[in-house]
């Protein structure tokens, strides 16, 4: 009973944070002068152009998802399961683009192709062709691919850690490593791969800044235009409605692909033992291919930022102009990540154990909120919370934290659910029979066993809270801007040196705490064997 009451309370809190603002927007979008009307929806959804744009977004999101999976999963296996040289350095480098707004990466690529250096090295014809390709679908795919590649890569690595190597060793007795990967390892980490596919697809589908900058018209443009040119909140909400259908389709696809597949793994073990993959003559080729990919996808655009920000003065100015925002960003991200971890843990538990009848709705809502344009959620939060009675929320940074909770619980919830799925139900059951209450079981059995999931969830929550601009931009109280918001506000006519320095600082403040936690968590799991 306690379990049900507690989980219901968590769900209610989550719905207040995330769903209620959207319902407010929805209610406003279907009413006019006190009467029910679907005019906003008719206007937006009956246009043929919307469906063309939907096609563009589907093409973009599908291409990015397929490419990131094709490259990210093998990279995850390479870095997580083998003794590939410099793998930690490679992981570190590949993750960097995820920590910066893709819009800034797009600007960096544009600067790179538009600048004189590359034209001098490769000739003006190359830069002309490259620029033509950059401004369109190929450019959008390139930027979003390099930004979201770390998602399947890191999730593959994280999920690999929970694969019992004894299963792989047993497989190796009858098969080569290809067979082991194909028949044992990959099927076991399939939930992680599908989770990464879903995240990449939804993030790419909802992306507006990059396609807008690179002039490729996509579906979110309508919602944006209704906000920016017409100030029409109703039409903007209506334009975001198909995303609910899309979320359903994505969830249905995931359900279909995981059907009949048990994700429970009998035990945890030391997964740091590398798979005895012998690359043979391919080792050098593989190494240079990975190094080349890092150079092209990460070093080149990052070099633009590093070169632009070169010099002590740039960084001194960056700290002077963005120091306050940096501190606030860290504070809010830590708060946000901690709350996201807690909420994600309990919603993940609910989804995994199906403890309440409406568990599937909770999963749907969190993922829908993740897919929803940040502007719709942001305006919803303003509309709901901006009242004299709730000024203690709206006029303080709590509104930013609520925004994080609404937008990113899907991440921590799904990560927790995946980890919780690997805890044998018998453990909690044994504790229950021994007389331990639900809270005790959660604190002493489930949470410790899911600690890696909590760590991974916290890192994901921290990274996404820290880089958020879509919601924060619309709700931050005056004088409480965060570093990514400040980078964007300074971008208009601001010095490129200052912007570049702020971006580099942003990367550093994201990597350092996340890296510390990663290091703290690794020895723990390496020592422990159940």
């Amino acid at each position: 009973m306690r379990k049900r009451i507690f989980l219901t309370s968590v769900v209610i809190l989550l719905m207040i944070a995330g769903l209620l603002p959207v319902l407010f927007m929805l209610a406003k979008s279907v009413t006019a002068d006190g009467c029910l009307t679907l005019a906003a929806y008719k206007g937006v959804l009956t246009s043929r152009r919307q469906w063309v744009l939907m096609g563009h977004s589907m093409a973009l999101a599908s291409l990015v998802t397929v490419l990131t999976l094709v490259a990210g999963v093998p990279l995850g296996i390479l870095f997580g399961k083998t003794d590939f040289p410099f793998r930690r350095l490679f992981v570190f480098l590949f993750v960097i683009p995820l920590l910066i707004s893709p819009y800034i990466i797009a600007v960096s690529w544009s600067d790179l192709f538009g600048g004189g250096f590359l034209a001098g090295v490769l000739g003006p014809h190359f830069t002309t062709v490259a620029t033509r390709l950059l401004f369109g679908l190929p450019g959008c795919v390139l930027v979003l691919f390099s930004t979201f590649l770390p998602i399947p890569m890191v999730l593959t690595m994280v999920f690999l850690k929970s694969v019992n190597p004894r299963l792989e060793e047993a497989g190796r007795l009858v098969s080569g490593w290809r067979g082991v990967l194909k028949n044992i390892t990959i099927p076991l980490i399939l939930p992680g791969i599908l989770l990464s596919a879903m995240l990449v697809f939804l993030l790419s589908f909802g992306e507006f800044g990059v396609p807008n900058f690179l002039r490729y018209n996509v579906f979110p443009v309508e919602s944006f235009t209704q906000f920016s040119a017409f100030y029409n909140f109703k039409a903007a909400t209506a334009a975001a409605a198909p995303l609910a259908v899309l979320t359903l389709v994505v969830l249905a696809a995931e359900f279909y692909l995981l059907r009949g597949r048990g994700t429970e793994i009998p035990s945890f073990s030391d997964s740091s033992i590398p798979l005895p993959i012998n690359f043979g003559k391919y080792r050098k080729i593989l190494f240079f291919s990975v190094a080349l990919a890092v150079f092209l996808l990460v070093i080149m655009p990052l070099a633009v930022l590093l070169i632009q920000s070169a010099g002590f003065d740039s960084y001194a100015e960056a700290f002077r102009k963005g120091g306050d925002s940096l501190l606030r960003s860290l504070l809010y991200a830590v708060f946000g990540a901690t709350l996201l971890t807690i909420f994600g843990f309990f919603t993940g538990y609910l989804i995994r154990t199906r403890a309440l009848r409406f568990w599937r709705s909770v999963d749907f809502v969190t993922i829908f909120l993740f897919a929803l344009p940040g502007t719709v959620l942001g305006i919803g939060l303003v509309t709901l919370w901006n009242r004299p009675l709730t000024n203690f929320i709206y006029a303080t940074p709590l509104i930013i934290i609520l925004g994080y909770l609404a937008r990113y619980t899907a991440l921590t919830s799904r990560i927790s659910a995946a980890y919780l799925g690997q805890i044998p139900g018998s453990m909690e059951e044994a504790a229950r029979i021994a007389g331990a209450g639900w809270f005790r079981r959660m604190a002493l059995i489930v949470a410790p066993l899911a600690k890696n999931g909590l760590f991974a969830g916290w890192i994901a929550g921290y990274v996404f809270s820290l880089r958020d601009t879509a919601v924060t931009m619309l709700v931050y109280p005056a004088g409480h801007d965060t570093l990514p918001v400040r980078i964007f506000t300074l971008m208009a006519n601001g010095s490129p040196r200052l912007i570049a320095a702020l971006c580099i600082i942003m990367v550093a403040v994201t990597i350092i705490p996340a890296g510390i936690l990663w290091m703290v968590s690794n020895p723990v799991q390496e020592k422990e064997t159940i």
């Binding site: 152009r49 819009y103 538009g114 800044g209 807008n212 900058f213 002039r215 235009t225 906000f227 920016s228 040119a229 017409f230 100030y231 909140f233 501190l327 504070l331 830590v334 708060f335 901690t338 971890t341 502007t375 305006i379 303003v382 509309t383 901006n386 009242r387 004299p388 000024n391 709206y394 006029a395 303080t396 940074p397 949470a447 410790p448 600690k451 909590l454 760590f455 916290w458 931009m473 619309l474 931050y476 109280p477 005056a478 004088g479 801007d481 918001v485 964007f488 506000t489 300074l490 971008m491 208009a492 006519n493 601001g494 010095s495 936690l517 703290v520 968590s521 723990v524």
Partner: protein, 349 residues
């Protein structure tokens, strides 16, 4: 597991401590509540922040600002003001053009205020009911690439866009956003429906390229990709100061021509502002001659509207420019009216 617990406990304590310290500072500063002003700003932060910092220094009034971004086409603060209508958080809106100020007036979000410092600002740049007052303006000018266009052949009128001589050689920012929308709406009020519509269709016939922003248009022209573009004067001055081989041309300056469209900043008092006294002080400060002088010499190179304010040599004084005679309230109304057409126009491209 202990490490995990320690980590979360330490991190949470640190975060909570910092939050409480910061928040309690705000609380203990309650006696200074009246010494605070909240301003939403759509003028670029790099130009507006120094002015607001100077205001803080000179008056001791703490300024809390929310700035806009280029990515959101500088409309984020407008959306917030509209969404916050029933419980306003802002005291002042510093708009980077008067059309938004007019929209706020029409939506009942702003309040009238006649600042004593508005004296001397030409009446066409002020709302007659005091709902907004213009200051420090940009002009809508041509930026022309000097390598591509000889000095004797410069485009002199906005109708150059539809002249077959320039077919495929000109670029304009997306008319659905920003000052380009305002200018098109202004043309509708000055030329009338038929001529303005013909002009818009002429842009298509003449293969005029569409960029995402005025800044991008200016960059395209500076790089020689297009010969000329209509941009804001600050975009042109900025490229000239960067040493690009471009020149700035004020369009339609001959007798009988429509003149150059002027886009002043606008200071707006928000209805139900939490700090009305400090809000008025800030508006007075923004409308002062000194602020206009600072904005003229800043990189945004904005034209002072008070007569006789010192300004850099590359800017023409407002009284030397043939100004397009428009009523900004009518322009705002026309803008709302033509936006569906502009949306369709932009979508077909």
């Amino acid at each position: 597991m202990k490490k995990l617990l320690y980590f979360f406990v330490i991190v949470s304590i640190l975060a909570a401590g910092t939050f409480l310290i910061r928040y309690s500072k705000t609380k203990t500063g309650r006696k200074r509540t009246e010494q605070t002003v909240v301003v939403y700003v759509s003028e670029d932060q790099v130009f507006s922040e120094p002015v607001l910092k100077d205001f803080e220094k000179e008056t001791g009034i703490q300024v809390k600002a929310v700035y806009d971004t280029e990515e959101a086409k500088s409309t984020g603060t407008m959306n917030r003001l509209i969404a916050e209508k029933n419980n306003p958080q802002a005291d002042v809106y510093w708009a980077n053009e008067p059309i938004r100020a007019e929209v706020l007036k029409q939506k009942g979000i702003s309040a009238p205020y006649f600042s004593p410092n508005a004296k001397g600002i030409p009446s066409m740049f002020r709302d007659k009911d005091g709902f907004w007052t213009g200051f420090s303006a940009r002009a809508r000018v041509f930026i022309v690439n000097r390598k591509n266009v000889k000095s004797g052949e410069m485009p002199k009128s906005i109708t150059a866009y539809t002249d077959s001589r320039w077919k495929g050689k000109a670029v304009i920012a997306n008319p659905l956003f920003g000052t380009t929308t305002s200018e098109i709406a202004a043309l509708y009020t000055v030329w009338g429906e038929e001529k303005a519509y013909g002009f818009m269709m002429g842009l298509k016939v003449n293969d005029v390229a569409v960029s995402t922003s005025n800044g991008e248009s200016a960059d395209f022209v500076a790089a020689g990709r297009y010969f000329f573009s209509l941009v804001d004067s600050d975009d042109a001055v900025n490229r000239i100061r960067q040493g690009k081989d471009v020149v700035m041309v004020y369009p339609d300056q001959k007798a009988g021509e429509i003149g150059c469209f002027i886009v002043p900043n606008a200071a707006v008092l928000i209805k139900g502002a939490p700090h009305p006294e400090t809000a008025r002080k800030l508006i007075d400060y923004l409308l002062s001659r000194e602020t206009e002088r600072k904005l003229a010499f800043a990189d945004c190179a904005q034209i002072p509207l008070h007569p006789g304010v010192e300004q850099p040599p590359e800017l023409k004084p407002i009284n030397k420019i043939r100004v397009m005679q428009v009523n900004y309230a009518e322009v705002a109304k026309k803008m709302v009216e033509i936006q569906p057409f502009l949306k369709g126009w932009a979508e077909v491209l």
